[in-house]
Amino acid sequence: MSRFAGKSAKIGPSENRCEARVCCDGTRPSVLVVLARVITFAIDGIDPRPVWVEVDIRAGLPTFRVVGLADAAVREARERVRAAILNSGFEFPARRITANLAPAHLRKVGPGFDAALAVGLLAASGQCSADALDRWAVFGELSLAGTVRPCRGVLAVAEGARRAGVAGLIVARERSGEAALVDGVAVAAVDDLCGIAKLLDGGDVPPPPAPTPVPAVEAPAPEESDLADVRGHELPLRALEIAAAGGHNLLLEGPPGSGKTMLARRLPALLPPLTRAEAVEVTRIHSVAGISHRGGLAATRPFRAPHHTISPAGLVGGGRPPAPGEASLAHHGVLFLDELSEFSRPSLEALRQPIEDGEIVIVRGQQALRFPTRFTLVAATNPCPCGFAGSDRACRCGELELARHRRRLSGPLLDRIDLLVTVARPSAAALGGPPRTTSGDVRERVLAARERQHVRLADTPAHTNAQLDTRLLRAHVHAEETARRALAQAYDRGGLSARGHDRVLRVARTIADLAGRDVVELDDVLHALALRARESAEEAIAA
């Protein structure tokens, strides 16, 4: 003890260290054993799991070991913790130090345990008070100078702290706004290790930056991309509106440079604003993935546009450690797949479950992780490999190439796409003309249509028309006799499969919702037929 300098002067073997408590083998602990316990959190997928950092200091050759299924970043923490403690003016005990991360079966990943390790070490060596450690959880990375740096997943950790019943959470000042979004947990935003020690010794709680700059969730963010900038493209605009209103997946087909990406980027702004619960959910996923939002909370619906070289794990989540994929990052927003036919088959196949179930379950070893994936899919593709089929320039593709292109597009994913629309280069006259509409106007209609769906589907698991299965369609979609006849005619004439029949009916329901009608009319069905995605049966005939 006498070797401890600085702050160690004020401590003795005391109440802030647990002595003789944790000996599982039943032996009496040596008098020289000192032990501290700090609660922190590991991110498992996107879920927080409580982790207890136990630090044991005893007589012996000076070593510092970290056990408990820690990955490389956590083992490297030893060096960071040693330097941070010394550079903050504390003493690093020259004794045998063992840190255990419990529970031992959970794999611990990333640098978020640094601060907890350092605090445990300080408390075990009596350099700070251990009294408060059952009230505060600690989460953060340390720099060599002793400053606390933010880690991914702060929001998830704050939720974990609330769930674990911990009164407060100590995090880095940067991104502490995220943690402050969780009610019921006091958040202390600290700058460095000394700050943590001061806080635990009974100092004032440094509050996180006032959360006022968080934009109100209800107010849409300033639109960088409004529909008012769009000229021409009347049909695609209509399709975007329908997709937004009913949550339908959309395929845009058109030659290069016709504006497919530009149109897709404008879809998130047409969707209803995020509710607070949705925003927190989005922020939590983004926080785990290392995406931070200004002011803490996600204010706009996410728009994710992964490149077509993406791996299946990158698209739906996975990897080691399992991380959320683009499909989860697009949760409550839009997933845009440009050049759909260039994506690898496995990647597209992997998207089926997320689209169908709104979540993906990834099983790794003995753990099953759930990532939410409720997004609207917008895909874009050239009409043929050279890109100019059906445009003013001649297409140079042969029938075989076309067939291959269609095969790549068809199949399981296309079954989940309700709307197909062709994007053509707007004419010069249209380019010079006035804008057709603004995002605000469209959003108003979309909101009204969503409200109608909400009322109609109140007692069903579905939220939007796109989620109606055959049974719900039969129960909740009422169509006029003429509309039914037209649909039956399309079905009988062989151009439509049973699945296609349902898709047309779903889209027709949304079109009627947009027009404020309770019953689906003939025109709604005709529109839906004209916008339906092509089916493989039809393609076979055309070949």
Binding site: L235, P383, G390, E399, A424, A430, A490, L526, A530
Partner: protein, 375 residues
């Protein structure tokens, strides 16, 4: 069953013709070399057996002559039976008379599909529909419409089962539940191109697939012009739907003209590369074809065009005025929703109208969201 099949399969060919056919297949590689060197095999197939060996075989001459002497008829017939193919030789009464017009008529016709069906198909009036492999939606639509209309009128549609126009013509005939005859450049049991497997099976089941080469022979480049001469000879009239300036379909048309058969062509835009060949044919005096009726008139005279008012015609006549106007605009080249809506019509109305027309099968949606009026 097996006995009955054995008795009909391979029964219609004599040893001389079978040996001749074997020889052509045996020399296929040599013919290919000669064809490549001279860019044409004209006259080769008209040579007598010995002359053919002498002209082509070179060093291998004696070896092939020995094989020729040792030819076993039964073995050749067995190979036919094994691939469910019937051989009909030119000495046989079942051999299509029209093929005799060829100076180098194939010695044996290998038929895949029921022989009596083939006989009926060859006895009926026959029209060949040929054209580009890389056809446009317009060309495909025309070929299909012609195939459908002519087959419905009781004619046999003859074509080469190639990609594009050929396959579309066969498809049209199958849609009308009519008879169609495919002439292949390889053995008749092989689906060539392979992507037309299903079409091959359907033609075998309802019509017949025939070829000059015995089962198992792969297609070589010279086989395609050789196949074209059979198409030209088999049909009373040859209709070219889309053809570029140097298209193989023009060879077929030329051969048909040489044989004294009727030649007709479907016109296209003068600016379209795939209409260069067909428009040139029309300029040279080929009959202009706007639909099945023109072909029937060409064959049987104006009075005999027995085609009743077409289904399309009736449908169009019963259309509401605005739908009729929309259909006219689609046919007039305004073929995308954007173009159709440019004239001031609301997109919604255009979409609804197009869906109505599609339901009545008056238009079809093609790649790039282009609508084509059906033929």
């Amino acid at each position: 069953m097996t006995a009955a099949r054995t008795s009909t399969l391979g029964s219609g060919a004599c040893t001389t013709c079978l040996r001749r056919s074997w020889l052509v297949a045996r020399l296929a590689g040599h013919i290919e070399i000669a064809w490549s060197a001279r860019r044409g095999s004209s006259g080769l197939l008209a040579l007598e057996d010995e002359a053919l060996i002498a002209a082509l075989a070179g060093d291998r001459r004696t070896a092939i002559a020995v094989e020729y002497e040792q030819f076993v008829t039964a073995a050749a017939l067995r190979r036919c039976v094994a691939s469910a193919v019937t051989a009909v030789c030119r000495c046989n009464a079942r051999y299509p008379a029209s093929l005799h017009d060829l100076p180098d008529a194939p010695a044996v016709l290998y038929v895949r599909g029921a022989l009596d069906r083939f006989e009926r198909a060859a006895a009926a009036d026959r029209v060949a529909i040929v054209g580009a492999r890389r056809a446009t939606p317009y060309g495909l639509e025309q070929a299909r419409g012609l195939g459908r209309g002519l087959a419905a009128a009781g004619l046999t549609v003859v074509s080469g089962m190639a990609l594009g126009v050929d396959a579309a013509a066969h498809m049209g005939a199958l849609e009308a539940e009519g008879t169609t005859l495919a002439v292949l450049a390889c053995g008749p049991e092989q689906a060539y191109p392979a992507s037309k497997r299903r079409l091959h099976a359907r033609i075998v089941a309802t019509g017949a697939v025939v070829a000059e080469l015995p089962p198992g022979t792969p297609a070589r480049r010279w086989c395609f012009p050789a196949r074209n001469r059979m198409i030209a000879a088999l049909a009373q009239a040859t209709v070219v739907v889309e053809a570029g300036e140097r298209s193989g379909s023009l060879i077929t048309a030329g051969q048909a003209a040489d044989l004294g058969r009727e030649v007709a062509a479907v016109p296209g835009l003068v600016t379209a590369p795939l209409a260069a060949g067909t428009n040139a044919l029309i300029a040279d005096g080929a009959q202009l074809v706007r639909g099945p009726r023109d072909v029937l008139e060409l064959l049987f005279g104006a009075s005999a065009a027995t085609l009743g008012p077409s289904r399309q015609g009736q449908e169009i006549a019963s259309l509401e005025p605005d739908l009729r106007a929309l259909l006219d605009r689609v046919g007039g080249g305004c073929d995308t929703v954007a173009a159709l809506a440019d004239g001031g019509a609301a997109v919604d109305a255009v979409l609804a109208g197009l869906a109505q027309l599609e339901l009545r099968r008056l238009v079809r949606r093609g790649p790039g969201g282009r609508y084509t009026a059906t033929a």
